[in-house]
Symmetry: C2
Subunit: 322 residues, 2 copies
């Protein structure tokens, strides 16, 4: 039997087929040429889900915390999608061991969908793919979508922009609070969590964070600092209450400025994806060769390529299938 066409998967997606959802996510991950078209067709269903971000340095216990939130949300009957954003690792194969364990745990629960996303070496593609997947889960009908990141770098901060409420998870050992400022976490946090709060220094870190937060001009939301022990289930129910409270204030990602900014992002990412396809198809092999043998420098070659009408024609053509 022939492989189903993307349009067939889309139809199945629209009637709630989880396999179709998984298939379309794979297309998003691979940045195939038809992704913007697929996304366009599900757009009218987007905008109902509550999107929560969980970030923080490696080792802060984010996965465990997300697991607890998942349990609380399921207990009150909400359908939950989890997207774990993971910088690709050729050594570990990209898949996170813990995610597999989690996925097995929820395997029979139709109300839960967990997916890891990794970069596969594409520049800037991870933030784009994450947004697309969140829109897909939203359109599919999940009530709550949790994005969890592995690190705290710029990509992770970019990814967090899509969340309506962002939780920054720290542990007492995470270093002094000046590091929190350095990593840009103070600006993106709607809620701070000091996890593994049974460890030494938890209360002190909490107080330092409070002090730093007081230096900021307070808006309509005062960023709380909560102590949790996610592994023991302590403090996570209160955390969810606070997330709910913030949600009442959080803006939708379907506001005019959010839509415009998303369009600009898609435009840029789609240009990059098409360029990658053009190079991959060997359309620029002539100049690539001249760069390799040192006949032209990389900057001069880029300027020459961009002044070439052929490249621009290819950029249009690369939006179609081959």
């Amino acid at each position: 039997m022939a492989e189903n066409a993307p349009q067939d998967w889309l139809e199945r997606f629209l009637v709630g087929d989880r396999r179709a959802l998984a298939r379309i996510i794979t297309r998003v991950e691979n940045r195939t040429f038809d992704v913007p078209l697929l996304m366009q067709q599900i757009w009218s269903r987007v905008g109902r889900a509550r999107v929560i971000g969980v970030t923080g340095p490696p080792g802060a216990g984010k996965s465990t915390l997300v697991d607890r939130l998942l349990e609380h949300l399921r207990a009150r009957g909400q359908r939950v999608g989890v997207v774990a954003v993971d910088p690709s690792s050729p050594f570990s194969g990209g898949a996170i061991l813990g995610d597999r364990v989690r996925m097995q745990k929820h395997f029979l629960d139709e109300g839960v969908f967990i997916r890891s996303l990794s970069t596969r070496g594409r520049h800037g593609g991870l933030a784009r793919a994450t947004r697309d997947v969140i829109h897909l889960l939203d359109a599919f009908g999940f009530d709550v979508i949790i994005i969890e990141t592995v690190g705290v770098g710029q990509t992770e901060l970019d990814v967090m922009k899509v969340a309506q409420s962002t939780i920054v998870v720290l542990v007492p050992e995470a270093g002094d609070t000046i590091q929190v400022m350095k990593a840009g976490l103070l600006e993106i946090a709607d809620l701070f969590v000091v996890n593994k709060a049974d460890r030494e220094g938890a209360r002190r870190l909490g107080n330092e964070l409070q002090a730093m937060l007081h230096m900021r001009a307070s808006a309509d939301w005062e960023v709380p600092v909560l102590l949790t022990e996610a592994a023991a289930g302590k403090g996570t129910a209160e955390l969810l209450e606070r997330i709910d409270a913030h949600g009442a204030l959080a803006s939708s990602h379907d506001e005019p400025s959010a839509r415009e900014s998303e369009w600009r992002d898609i435009l840029r990412d789609e240009l990059s994806a098409r360029l990658e396809r053009i190079v991959g198809d060997g359309h620029l092999e002539g100049i690539a060769r001249r760069v390799r043998i040192g006949e032209i420098d990389p900057y001069g070659a880029a300027l020459e390529s961009l002044a070439d009408a052929d490249l621009l024609a290819h950029l249009v053509a690369a939006g179609r299938g081959r």
Copy 2:
């Protein structure tokens, strides 16, 4: 007196004027239209510097370690440029307090140049700007260039690709070693440093790292794990010896494949920069308005923009000054 033209600064750069270097770096940070042209003109001088990367989670003591390396390198008469790559922070203003302290310390030393780079909200621009600045410092005549990152996210990993030798700095409290794998640090490390080695668990972390490294197929370089106490100056001289040893094996960034990959990166980044300029100039305001009022969805609008001959003409024109 009129502002000097970029071409004047370039001439001054070529005769060793540090103010000209600083000015051109600012143009690189702002991604002005003439950057590829400027870079093209200094390219013939690029390729002599030794490029060392230092990365690791916040709080690992990277800045202190870099300071020690700087002192050792200066003691043997080498000229050193330091680029501190910092995700932008609107709250802290982007500049790192520690960097200012460092800069003051070396203010009178012509053999040292320290510069922080932050994103200023440009997507993917930070990795590009970092590469450009490294080429500039290289062309300017610095013998060694150290890139130091603040976090350990995807951008930071991208940035590290330009380094010939990458040092990953951890501290005993950084969490168990599985986190190192998760964050993709194992793949990029040429040398591991366990800093603050006087703390509990340092030796255990060192042993765990060793064990993980043994699982990898050993190439011509065995990744060492060194214990340091950078604040007390312990172990840093030995670290530099090991860095030198790795340098003897490290490949130049002027190899055919490196040149080709740089050309592709420049091409992509230049396309993004031009797109940003086009939008900033209001050339796409018509469709932007339709997106804002919800007349068209963001994906459909991006596809429509990319099918528009005007946009492509603007992409060419945006490579020239206004």
